[in-house]
């Protein structure tokens, strides 16, 4: 029997703007999680920010590389939310792969692919410095007053090892 992949866990299709999307009560029965965010935000220069289990401590760090169509850039940073990549007011798709999300013996790694054909192609590697199993994921848009735009779809999938 082939191993199931991309088992749908939850999805939301926005009929209006929304400043925060929260996936909660995530079961611990999968190996990895995948989130697909398809749509746009309400701001021209905005990123998706992520928090696990409502943790607002300085426990998030990331490294990234990207191209804007003429120049390249790379860097690293840290903060009280994970920076999960560019999500402007233009059609975008972002893929988030959270590895070993229910493990209690390691920090949590997320691979991010951020794609907006009119702005950037970017890849991130993220770390949440906690050995706690992930049971909830909060996604917001950077910048005061910014939101996910109407029509955006965010879907969470579980992957069995």
């Amino acid at each position: 029997m082939p191993t199931n992949t991309y088992t749908p866990l939850a999805t939301i299709s926005l009929t209006g703007t929304d400043s925060e999307i929260v996936f909660s009560n995530i079961p611990n029965t999968y190996r990895d999680l995948i989130i697909i965010a398809s749509g746009q935000s309400t701001a021209a220069n905005a990123n998706i920010l992520a928090r696990f289990n409502s943790d607002s401590g300085s426990n998030y760090s990331w490294v990234y590389m990207g191209g804007d169509g003429s120049s390249t850039f790379s860097g690293s940073s840290s903060g009280t939310s994970g920076d999960w990549g560019n999500f402007p007011n233009a059609q975008s798709v972002s893929v988030f792969q959270i590895m070993d999300y229910s493990a209690t013996d390691k920090h949590k790694t997320t691979l991010v692919r951020s794609n907006t054909a009119s702005t950037y192609a970017i890849a991130y590697a993220e770390r949440w410095a906690s050995t706690t199993a992930i049971t909830s994921i909060s996604l917001t848009i950077s910048g005061s007053g910014n939101s996910f735009a109407s029509g955006t779809i965010l879907s969470l999938y579980g992957v069995i090892a």
């Binding site: 697909i36 191209g67 059609q91 702005t119």
Partner: protein, 171 residues
Amino acid sequence: MQIIEHQELSAAQASITFSSIPQTFTDLLIVTSLRDSGSTNGWTNAYIRPNGLSTNLSTRVLYGFSSTVGSFSDTFIYHETVGGGSSANTFSNSSIYIANYTASAAKSISVDTSTANNGGNAINAIVAGLWNSTAAITSLSLVAEVGNFVQYSSATLYGITKGSDGTTVVS
């Protein structure tokens, strides 16, 4: 994720097409392994054509090969195949993710693409693509840029369906 169709070429041909794609999934994933029959030692492009079309496409790319890194934009979806002049038996390896392929909105496309070749003449790239059309994708073609796709080139089409497990909550 569910496999929709797998194609592996028994002989060289100019393109690989998935037609009559079911409209019952949410997203599509295509995994490709390709080699071009042309004489290029390195890489060539394998054009991605939603519904067989080459219009309303755009791409923004970050690439690296040898000690070179760069970025460009263009009016096709960047996706690589190994050129026929490269090391024998080497094929490209790429994944193409198309979100909400049946929606009446522009289609965002994420591509991770890489080639292999002795001597380091190989490329790796991440691609942000867009098909700016409100039409649902009912077919998808991969078209060789230089020659034909050689025997044993392959592509697999998967469908991914969003939904709920009845336990996880989203708000």
